[in-house]
């Protein structure tokens, strides 16, 4: 149960409550939900099962870090270096995710302390947010008098490391055991409040709850929308990032499980918890609430940050007891973010412990220093959130696609479907339907490849199928365009430095791991489920 809660906590994050509802409303929910559930069945759940299986399989051989796990699975000198991605991705994502976590805690505090009554325009909340995160000028977040985001950052950074230092069972699982039910309870409180909004302003009868639900869930022209490749890309991307597959987190957690643990049920339970929070809670709260107070014009085309930190604060300001419901909502986002960020640290801790052969105290200290440096970089170069956006695009999107592809191929083709199936079903009461053998071996890699190629074509290179020609994304031009952005380039350089550091550590561990390969397998750690 502990590992299920930890993996669920890893998956449930800001995307459930902010990104999913925005996408569903944008693409017409009927078509979007068809593409969404197809993606869940073809890539979401299969990759999840693959990660649980590969992690436990390698864990039985005494490996608990991503490079070690892939060393045990791929059985090629390059295997461990491929696995380095599974340690780098969560650690680098943590460097900016913890900053967003601090925004949530700060907003919760401002609500509870009655400082978030900024008037009736989204512009006022947008200006507040820009100053708060330092989006208008580099280094602004460190200056005095700017809403003290750095103080909240220090609090959440220390909180994360205190919990992670306490270990998997006493730290992460203990925290998730209380945080996950609390999160769901808080979301239910907000859900009840939203579903009882009715028509708050009688002079605007169009802005009612039922119309808000209609805006969110009415299907539109399903046939036409399903022919839009961007819709499939958005649905697959949401499934992909929402379930935390391809992060290297699940393989690490699963490596601590025993043979008798039911990983089929555990994987499905963690995925279903995420889907529950995303569709049943996120889908019913955010967009309908925003629609009721701002109408369709106020909701359409809003990105994750805009919806969460500019539109919703205005919505809460129009509710009775804004300090209470605003405070609850942002504390809910904060809890969701903490459970995710904790899971991003564990793969790094496990890697340093295993590869450098050091204790938890030393590995926490090294990882703390590394992530603090990265975080300071992201917070300082805050103008237009350039550093955050660049790292999110190339690591939080691009590298995750790569890692997920590696995982599904490792399960279907390297470990092999027959052996993988046996491993997955050890200790399992629940059977995976046999059709998933075909899905995992052929359909998932092809679907992933298709999505990846589409993403490269449409979102990276900016291919226009009607007019032809390429219009590369700003993030590409920032790096290799005629007028490159130095912050974007330094961000990539920083990621390369972290990768190089992890590769060097892995190389130093290689001899010890080779020796271990020829020794009897050590007993695995006690189960945490």
């Amino acid at each position: 149960m502990g590992v299920i809660l930890a993996v669920s906590g890893s998956a449930v994050g800001l995307g459930n409550f902010l990104r999913f509802p925005g996408l569903a409303a944008q693409y017409g929910s009927g078509a979007f939900m068809i593409a969404y559930f197809i993606s869940l069945i073809i890539i979401g759940i299969p990759i999840c099962w693959a990660e649980w299986t590969l992690g436990r399989y390698a864990g039985q051989q005494g490996f608990h870090s991503s490079p070690g796990i892939f060393h045990a699975i791929i059985r090629h000198p390059l295997g461990k270096y491929i696995g380095v991605l599974g340690a780098v991705i969560p650690v680098v994502i943590y460097m900016y995710y913890v900053y967003i976590e601090a925004w949530c805690l700060g907003y919760a505090w401002y609500y509870v302390s009655g400082q978030m009554n900024l008037g009736d325009s989204v512009q006022a909340y947008g200006d507040f947010w820009s100053r708060y995160v330092g989006a208008t000028e580099n280094g602004l977040a460190f200056g005095g008098g700017h809403n003290h985001v750095v103080i909240f950052l220090i609090i959440v950074f220390i909180l994360n490391f205190i919990i992670i230092y306490r270990g998997l069972v006493k730290g992460i699982e203990f925290f998730c055991k209380y945080a996950m039910p609390a999160l769901i309870l808080l979301a239910l409180v907000i859900l009840v409040r939203v579903l009882t909004l009715g028509t708050p302003d009688p002079t605007k009868p169009d802005q009612s709850l039922i119309n808000g639900l209609g805006y969110m869930w009415n299907p539109g022209d399903v046939g036409t929308q399903l022919r839009n490749p961007q819709l499939w890309l958005a649905a697959a991307g949401q499934i992909f990032f929402s379930l935390s597959v391809g992060f290297g987190v699940i393989v690490t957690y699963a490596s601590y499980l025993r043979e008798k643990d039911d990983i089929v049920l555990s994987g499905l339970t963690a995925s279903s918890a995420n889907e529950f929070c995303e569709v049943a809670l996120g889908g019913m709260i955010t967009v309908p609430a925003a629609f009721v107070f701002l109408g369709a014009a106020g909701v359409a085309g809003q990105g994750t940050f805009d919806l969460g930190f500019k539109v919703l604060p205005l919505v809460f300001s129009k509710l009775p007891l804004p300090w209470l419901f605003g405070g609850i909502f942002f504390f809910l986002l904060f809890l969701a973010a903490v459970t995710s960020s904790l899971s991003m640290l564990q793969p790094g801790i496990a890697f340093l412990e295993e590869a450098m052969h050091i204790g938890r105290k030393q590995s926490v200290a090294i990882l703390g220093l590394l992530t603090a440096l990265g975080c300071l970089f992201v917070v300082y170069f805050s103008r237009g959130l350039k550093a955050l956006d660049t790292i999110d695009f190339w690591v939080g999107t691009f590298l995750i696609y790569v890692m997920a592809t590696i995982i599904i191929i490792s399960f279907g083709w390297v470990l092999g479907i027959r052996r993988g199936w046996e491993e997955a079903h050890k200790g399992a009461e629940m059977r995976i339907p046999n059709v998933f053998k075909f899905i995992i071996k052929y359909l998932s890699p092809l679907y992933l490849l298709g999505i990846f190629v589409c993403w490269l074509l449409f979102n990276v290179l900016g291919w226009d199928p009607q007019k032809g020609g390429l219009h590369p994304d700003a993030r590409v031009l920032d790096l290799v365009g005629a007028d490159p952005n130095p912050v974007a380039r330094w961000s990539i350089l920083w990621v390369v430095v972290v990768v190089a550091f992890f590769v060097l550590i892995t190389a130093s561990a290689a001899r010890r791991w080779r020796t271990r390969d020829h020794a009897p397998a050590p007993a695995s750690k006690p189960s945490t489920s």
């Binding site: 149960m1 299920i4 409303a25 017409g28 929910s29 009927g30 939900m33 559930f37 169009d206 802005q207 009612s208 039922i210 119309n211 639900l213 209609g214 805006y215 969110m216 869930w217 009415n218 299907p219 539109g220 049920l265 555990s266 499905l268 339970t269 279903s272 918890a273 889907e275 529950f276 995303e278 569709v279 049943a280 889908g283 019913m284 109408g295 369709a296 014009a297 359409a300 009461e429 629940m430």
Partner: protein
């Protein structure tokens, strides 16, 4: 941008199927995890058999 309108029949169906599916899946999985493995029915051997004559004999001894 969509015009403001209430939930259409298609909207109701999309919402109920989507929310119903994830709630059903979540409740099923969580109940399986919480209720855990069913205990295996113990096999009864010769030692567990207590025919009436043995019972009578035992009660006579006690009496």
């Amino acid at each position: 941008m969509q015009e403001a309108q209430g939930l259409t029949p298609g909207g109701w169906i999309t919402m109920i199927l989507s929310v119903g599916f994830v709630v059903g899946l979540f409740v099923t999985c969580i109940s399986k995890v919480i209720l855990g493995h069913k205990p295996v029915e113990p096999l009864h051997g010769v030692d567990n058999i207590e025919p009436p004559d043995i019972k009578e004999e035992a009660s006579e001894k006690q009496g």
